[in-house]
């Protein structure tokens, strides 16, 4: 879908499905326009010590991607009111507007927990929060991104100190960020137009909803999302967080041991879904195909559905799954199946999960004799066999037995 670059292309991140829930849309006229952002973060007052205590390296300006800085991004995006922060593993830019405290009980509870944690870090955050102002949203997303990074390390039994690893050992990439030389960059934009301008200028083609991209020179992975690509009932902070985790997980995976190419698609999608469902398992974003309406959240209870299929011995073998391509063409059940396979790997044995991740991301030397596609398929097959210590048919059988034993019947 997008030009290949740096040895492999990035999917357009299953473009935020124009979810079709409702075109009831937004308020027709908001009236006042966009809230201006204070130039200095009101929660740290720009104090270096306060920023450090909050886990920040900088509020910008900084180098952003290949040959461009955060200031240049600001210039290209024109009037977009951007604010910036750099954490231990991410550089984040946001133009998200103020957000009212939600009425959804689950979203509310989640936010309360996150804000309680933020209060421990941000001395300027006090009292009851009724609205999330743009700076507070930036802090929240910085926290969420770092949480995801830690979670990724934990689930795969990885240590920060392993990257890039000593010379002579099994290569772990070029740099300290899971193997990437540069930090992961994330741009959260209120408007689709802003993302389109950014991607058309720096990522070769305009994308309005979401996009992932590899910067070859800085060796960094970028992810951008626009909030107003979500429509109707989907336009809320919880779904946006889900989308962010879905996309950034793919960058963490793609960057692990250095970026060369991605896939297999089923694993990558399943992995992204597995982490995203921790945000909200009710959300079915990115499960509707091009001509499909996003299903109701009643369809989000996947364990009984997968179990029922296993009960009828009706499921794709992993051999078949290795051939799956564009997730936008997938039928709904494929998303469940991909998630469930990853669930099987990650919930059982972290050492094996780690071994599989290592093998799936084993660098592939360039070969003049064999097409890269063929080498990638071979790497995936070998990884599944060697890391899990079994042939693919045995993997299918074990997964099915595990599902039958562990998933709720209804």
């Amino acid at each position: 879908m997008i030009p290949l670059r740096g040895g492999g292309g990035l999917q357009p991140a299953a473009v935020l499905v124009f979810a079709s829930l409702a075109a009831l849309g937004r308020a027709e006229v908001q009236g006042e326009g966009r809230t201006p952002r204070p130039a200095v973060d009101p929660y740290t007052q720009g104090d270096p010590q306060a920023a450090k205590s909050a886990g920040y390296v900088s509020f910008g300006p900084f180098l952003w991607g290949d040959d461009h800085t955060s200031e240049r991004v600001q210039a290209v995006l024109g009037g977009e009111p951007l604010i910036w922060v750099e954490t231990a593993h991410f550089r984040l830019g946001s133009s998200l507007d103020e957000y009212d405290f939600p009425s959804d009980r689950i979203e509310r509870k989640k936010l309360e927990g996150e804000l309680a944690r933020l209060k421990e870090r941000l001395s300027g955050l006090k009292g009851k929060v009724k609205k999330l102002d743009p700076w507070l949203r930036l802090h929240l997303y910085a926290l969420r991104l770092e949480d995801l990074y830690s979670d990724f390390l934990r689930e795969f039994a990885l240590e920060e100190s392993e990257f890039p690893g000593p010379a002579g050992a099994r290569p772990m990439g070029r740099g300290p960020y899971l193997g990437m030389a540069d930090k992961f960059t994330v741009l959260l934009l209120e408007k689709k137009s802003a993302l389109a301008r950014y991607t058309s200028t720096y990522c070769e083609k305009a994308w309005e909803a979401s996009f992932r991209y590899y910067f070859t020179k800085s060796d960094g992975l970028f992810c951008g999302l626009s909030y107003d690509a979500l429509e109707g009932e989907l336009q809320n902070d919880l779904v946006f967080h889900y989308a962010l985790v879905f996309l950034v997980t793919q960058n963490l995976y793609g960057g692990f041991r250095g970026y060369d190419s991605e896939g297999p698609v089923w694993w990558q999608e399943g992995l992204a879904r597995w982490f995203a469902r921790k945000v909200d398992p009710r959300c079915l974003l990115y499960t509707a195909g091009k001509d499909e309406t996003l299903r109701d959240e009643l369809e989000a209870d996947w364990e009984p559905k997968v179990r029922a299929r296993v009960g009828h011995a009706y499921f794709p073998s992993v051999e078949e799954m290795l051939a799956w391509k564009d997730p936008e063409e997938w039928e709904f059940s494929r998303h469940m199946m991909a998630w469930s396979r990853v669930d099987f790997v990650l919930r059982r044995d972290r050492a094996k999960a780690r071994a599989l991740l290592m093998d799936l991301r084993e660098p592939i030397p360039w070969s003049p004799e064999r097409p890269r596609e063929e080498l990638l398929a071979e790497r995936s097959r070998n990884a599944l066999q060697s890391a899990l210590g079994k042939d693919l048919a045995a993997f299918d059988r074990e997964w099915a037995a595990w599902v039958f034993e562990n998933y709720a019947k209804r």
Partner: protein
């Protein structure tokens, strides 16, 4: 609907016609037909670095009007609909162009325009595209020929009917065949697509439920699958019909371009 209280616009049967109720949301296929395909030009000429790489530079150089229009239009010879975003009156422009039932006619008509969205800072005197929105009270959007001639400025406060009338005039002037017939047919196609989307979506869920209940060999599952295939084919044919209906031919143009010569001002 202005001028037609209680009636139904034959070109837009889903528009609220004296009814307090919103129309049913469109299905995914209709929604994609209704999407405005915006272009978001950024003036960032590529330059070669000393190492031989090509990088985008963002120049703060005001382009002359003709050059700005030429960059905006590229090779596209459709008339343009150019909108500038605004930080202080969010919504007045979007209200006309956001996907809502009462905007569907605008959405559908947009396919015959090259739609361009510029950022709010186009009002800055040093913005490369500033020449398009000069003056003390610049318009919010304008409609023009691809080279900037025959321009009509709009301030974003106009009613939908005014907007449709201006869009319609431009389409009649620039296209060899009438858009009105195409619009009527497109509205009818949207209705059919919605019905198909609805049926296919519901059948897909039924199929999954059936498989999970009785397994893939269930007779019912096979029947549902067959029906899904039939309806999906029907939907593909409809989409192809929408493409054919939308393919209006531009008129040949002989007169030379004279960008910026406004034909009218609607403020």
């Amino acid at each position: 609907m202005a001028g037609n209280p209680g009636g139904v616009d034959p070109l837009n049967p889903l528009a609220p016609a004296g009814s307090p109720y919103l129309a049913a949301p469109r299905g995914p296929t209709s929604q994609s037909e209704l999407e405005i395909r915006w272009d978001y030009p950024v003036y960032a000429p590529k330059v070669e670095t000393p190492t031989g790489r090509t990088v985008a530079t963002f120049e703060k150089r005001v382009l002359p009007l003709l050059e700005a229009m030429a960059i905006l239009a590229g090779a596209d010879r459709r008339p343009v609909l150019v909108l500038r975003e605004c930080q202080t009156c969010t919504g007045t422009d979007d209200a006309l162009l956001t996907r809502r039932a009462d905007n569907e006619k605008t959405m559908l008509m947009s396919r015959w325009f090259h739609c361009v969205k510029l950022p709010a800072d186009v009002l800055d005197v040093d913005h490369p595209f500033h020449a398009l929105f000069e003056g003390d009270s610049p318009s919010h959007l304008f409609i023009a020929d691809w080279d900037g001639s025959g321009r009509t400025n709009l301030n974003g406060q106009q009613s939908r009917t005014e907007l449709w009338s201006i869009m319609g005039e431009k389409l009649s002037a620039r296209y060899a065949s009438t858009h009105e017939t195409a619009l009527a047919e497109l509205f009818s196609i949207l209705g059919e697509l919605d019905a198909l989307d609805d049926k296919v979506g519901s059948l897909r869920q039924q199929l999954d439920a059936e498989i999970e209940k009785d397994g893939p060999k269930s007779a019912q599952a096979a029947k549902i699958q067959k029906e899904i295939t039939r309806l999906a084919n029907e939907r593909s044919e409809l989409r192809e019909r929408a493409v054919r209906v939308s393919a209006l031919k531009l008129k040949e143009r002989h007169r030379p371009a004279s960008a910026g010569a406004p034909s009218s001002e609607k403020a």
